[in-house]
Chain length 316, copies 2
């Protein structure tokens, strides 16, 4: 039965998790069979993706932020008339929240306070800092960086965003006074930087982006947060800087080596916060994916441009 | 020499700290002698306040959020033609930041992770939560609450603000979807609440506002944060709830008794974060006061209504 209501199917398992079902309904669409669907939310692997899609299907939402495997399976080549979207950006908010948590915990001296077993107000007072009026440099202003900037703004922190192009970072909740600096001028930001959040992809160019020289140019009160990949920081240089009080501390959700082996010096440093790459745990991923699907379904129903559209000619 | 530029004096010590000097200059005013001043920033005690002010002085900024002592010294009665402002709200941001830090650290399972000396990703994954989509009830929507709401918004948390009047909380950065509930209907919010931040004044009516009944109506994942006064929470009931897993945890910058004595059970609970009433340490107060002075000086220069005007007829 044809319907004027947009119909969205879920596959390969057509039984939608409640959160996805709600996201589709809230967007003003209805959940239906693939045979009559305008769009498909795909939650499975590339090799199970249908070789043929009904002609009615104009949009397919894929479940991952990185879709190399769907390229390898030639999913896009097989369906040239269909618009595909990835989940790029969907999982950034949880990682950004984790980065903010580690940064705040560091700046406000939580690790030392958690170890205390007595009321040491006078001892702790001078060590409790604030992000207000401080400059946080975010190295890598992709999804995580763009999610983090709006979280830092109401805390009164100033943000320097570093990206490859140096093109001004814009987006919902991103204040107009965010400075954007191209990566090839990273050396100029350290003297203006209070704290650093590393959120850039791991490439040959970003390996050991933060080493002894960069750490030396930060402040004894600076915290360095890494939620990207361990290889972006020179771990040995970091351990030395933490031991010598060159910087205030480090919050690491990723390490090099990873997993961090038992007995590694980082485990015992009082000014290191280590979380075992758990900033985006499995149970939070479905909710984040449902939010992403809901936003795209609303746009699809309204005929607007979708988020995270995959361009088969550039490979993501 | 008369000047068209607004002149602001600082007393009793006319040597301004650099931050105050900068705040006055940035506001487009100039620092000058009391004899020719349009306004006075008072950083001293009530008993040192001048009995006579030059007729040119139309505005006096006081250094404290609570000005009971200035009432007791009859400072307002002696200067009926002068507008006085307190520092109410100036110190809220640091306390709100501290509350956010403890809430995020709790929700994302930081205390347990800080104790780890090995990479326990699989064990920690299920415990790492997020504020996204969660409802945070702020009991007491005064300065701290109003500073905290804009910090929670970009994290995707929904806020229920509880105040005496139930009048809708508004202000810069406060989203339109914040629910405001009058304090006499507090009992109705618990079933919708994921986490609680206590930020209400300590009065006879708010003593043990959070007791065994309220804790029982929260969730095993709920965190309770107190940045107000220890007496608002029934400590014995809280210890029992934390021990029995009735709630997820508690972040306490204030305790009852305070200081928390050595050997108190709260020190040893793995799901309690204790900070020794240091959410607004001395070194952050001057910066916060300078921000407050700067904002008021800008308004004074522009002829706009000032922040935190004291009304001698109501007593604050």
């Amino acid at each position: 039965m044809p319907s004027s209501v947009t119909t969205i199917a879920i596959g390969p398992d057509p039984t939608a998790p409640k959160l996805l079902e709600k996201a589709i309904a809230d967007a003003g669409a209805r959940l239906g069979d693939m045979a009559e669907a305008d769009a498909l939310i795909w939650t499975g692997r590339p090799d199970a993706f249908p070789a043929e899609l009904p002609a009615s299907v104009r949009w397919v939402q894929l479940p991952a932020a990185g879709v190399e495997d769907f390229f390898a399976a030639d999913v896009f080549g097989q369906h040239p008339g269909v618009e595909f979207t990835s989940a790029a950006g969907a999982f950034s908010a949880s990682v950004a929240e984790h980065a903010l948590m580690m940064l705040l915990a560091g700046v406000r001296y939580l690790p030392e306070q958690l170890r205390a077993r007595s009321w040491q107000q006078a001892e702790f007072f001078p060590h409790v800092g604030s992000l207000r009026g401080k400059t946080v440099t975010i190295v890598g202003a992709g999804g995580i960086g763009r999610a983090l900037i709006p979280m830092l703004a109401p805390l009164g922190a100033h943000v320097i965003a570093v990206n490859r192009s140096g093109r001004t970072v814009r987006g919902p909740g991103i204040p107009a006074d965010v400075e954007t600096v191209p990566a090839d001028q990273l050396g100029k930001v350290w003297s203006h930087t209070d704290h650093v959040v590393v959120a850039a992809p791991a490439t040959a160019a970003t390996r050991h982006l933060i080493g002894a020289d960069e750490l030396a140019r930060l402040k004894p009160s600076s915290w360095v947060i890494n939620v990207a990949r361990g290889s972006l920081i020179d771990t040995d240089a970091l351990v030395t800087a933490l031991n010598d009080g060159v910087i205030g501390g480090a919050g690491l959700d990723v390490t090099d080596p990873e997993p961090l082996p038992d007995g590694h010096p980082l485990w015992e440093l009082p000014n290191a916060i280590i979380t075992p790459h758990d900033s985006n745990p499995p149970q939070l991923r479905l909710a984040a994916f449902a939010d992403h699907v809901g936003a795209n379904a609303r746009k699809f129903v309204a005929g607007e441009a979708l988020n995270a559209v995959i361009d088969p000619t550039i490979g993501y």
